[in-house]
Amino acid sequence: MPYTPEKPPLPETPEQLRARIPGWGADLDPADRPSVPRERRDLDSGAHWHEPEQQPGGEDRERSIEHARLTPAFGTAQPLHGLSGAIRRYAYDRFSEGRAAHWLLLIAGDRVDAWESHLASFVSGRPDNPVTETGVLSERRRHGLSSRRDGKRVDVVHQSFDPVLVGGSWVVAGVVAVAAARTLVRRLR
């Protein structure tokens, strides 16, 4: 009890723990723990340079305004493009990582990107297929019902309305957008 100085007794002695658990106490000495101390100057990272060479081709690469320069290496996986690209570039150019606007714009860019890509996929040779891409067919093969009935899972409550929550905000945004467009059209007339 914390009302007196003693630490509550443990159910097992170190000898019992050592007998029951493989390796118990092997890293008792902090000197054996590879991340103690956190900062060390004596590790060999394998780098054989003082400063890495610059990866070429980064002239247009978006970057955080908290960086003083483009980093020596950078990913080139999905360059910015389209409307989502413009939103993302604005988020990078205008707001630091310290600003919620930076991240909320990036999330907005993600949603626009998804819709742009879904639409583009319908005119491509390979339209998005929500059935195969969401993997819901695994419900049958992976015991969807019995897995959820097992025990006292608390996520089952929201799993049932996850699709609504995940997609629903876009339905709402769509309705708002249509209403706004109508108002605009009416005003222009």
Binding site: L17, R40, D110, A114, T134, S147, G151
Partner: protein
């Protein structure tokens, strides 16, 4: 695999990645795995996750090409690649903060580089693929010792190293009572590692019975199912003679369940940078003067964390992305000695073609899923 938008992925043919920097290598992936962190991407929670992005930061493979300045690797080497991308020489790398490199991620300064983890961590495609570009090939990857199996090796690239690192962040001393929130791969490894550091009791909390069963058999832990108790914090206090835990490890992160409002605002509506339920349980469940180790990933905006309690209790909060390669030499010793048996938690092995179903199964926690390996080729 490529991302097509929230909850949607598919397999596509892409060009083989090219050497883009003199110290790049191209690795042909043989085994990859799906991490709890991938679920944050899959659910559309991670800002700047672009359609077409290939996920996967846990992978091993064979070196297929090397750039002109690569000295430590050769074509044909069987390598494991830490999930961190890092240069080895910036201010942070020079101090051993290998998960916090400043030279690889132009998109953000607050986070280093990670394979297949959106443009917020640098815009590098990941390893749930046939080929992957590996920057700073002289720094990150290591040759896999002959005696180590592919399955144990792929688990070293993140989950095992992270759990082991998390136990170290807890600064465990002999006889400490350690509570681990979350019985996913990271939590299970953290619980098992806590014993190596001399814990006196290890208690694992989750709401999935099949994972708690694993916590008892694999991690030798006591367990609490938070779905079955009225108030987890009170349960933890009762379990610790009303003292609270010396150390609490958060191995849950941004999509924590247990409080519907927090879950929905944090994980679904994105009104906060993740659901801080587990973090708050950690703060309330720890003893005064105790330590909290945060492994769970959170988003880059604010979350409703009970900071006042953390201050009033004088807690030490420690956290980071795991600097994976720093853990390897010691982890290899522990695996060799039989102290750690990483592949015991693997429940599913699937081919790359079935990855959409693999994600759904792991996300919805179906079929007893704990860890899924994606087998992409033959070594």
């Amino acid at each position: 695999m490529v991302y097509r938008g929230p909850y949607k992925i598919r397999v596509e043919e892409k060009d083989v990645p090219r050497i883009e920097h003199p110290n790049d290598a191209i690795v042909r992936v043989t085994t990859a795995s799906i991490c709890g962190s991938d679920l944050h991407l899959y659910h559309g929670l991670m800002p700047d996750t672009r359609v077409g992005h290939t996920f996967g930061h846990e992978f091993i493979g064979v070196v297929d090409q090397v750039g002109p300045s690569v000295q430590n690797l050769q074509v044909g080497d069987r390598v494991m690649v830490p999930f961190n991308i890092y240069c080895g020489s910036c201010f942070f790398c020079a101090r051993g903060l290998w998960s916090n490199c400043h030279n690889v991620n132009p998109n953000a300064t607050a986070v280093g580089g990670i394979y297949g983890y959106s443009h917020t961590t640098g815009g590098y495609d990941g390893g749930q693929a046939e080929f992957v570009r590996v920057p700073f090939a002289d720094v990150g990857p290591s040759k896999i010792p002959d005696w180590l199996s592919d399955e144990d090796a792929v688990l070293m690239t993140d989950a095992l190293a992270t759990g082991y690192f998390g136990a170290q962040l807890g600064d465990i001393s002999q006889g400490d009572v350690v509570v681990v929130l979350g019985a996913g791969p990271v939590g299970l490894y953290a619980a098992r590692s806590a014993w190596l550091m001399g814990a006196g009791r290890v208690i694992v909390v989750d709401h999935l019975d099949y994972r708690l069963e694993k916590a008892r058999t694999f991690a030798y832990a006591e367990t609490i199912n938070f779905g079955e108790v009225d108030d987890v914090v009170v349960t933890l206090k009762r379990a610790t003679d009303h003292l609270g835990a010396d150390v609490v490890i958060d191995a849950v992160g941004a999509e924590a369940d247990g409080n519907l409002t927090q879950h929905v605002t944090g994980a679904k509506l994105k009104l906060q940078g993740g659901s801080p339920v587990a973090l708050n349980w950690a703060i309330d469940g720890a003893r005064k003067g105790g330590t909290i180790s945060v492994l769970g990933a959170y988003g880059p905006i604010f979350s409703a964390v009970k900071f006042g309690d953390a201050v009033n209790k004088g807690l030490t909060l420690r956290m980071n992305q795991a600097p994976v390669k720093r853990q390897w030499p010691r982890l290899l010793e522990h695996i060799r000695a039989g102290y750690l048996t990483p592949s015991d938690i693997v429940t599913h092995r699937i081919p790359l073609e079935h990855i959409a179903e693999g994600y759904h199964m792991f996300s919805a926690k179906l079929d007893g899923c704990i860890k899924t390996l994606v087998v992409t080729g033959d070594a």
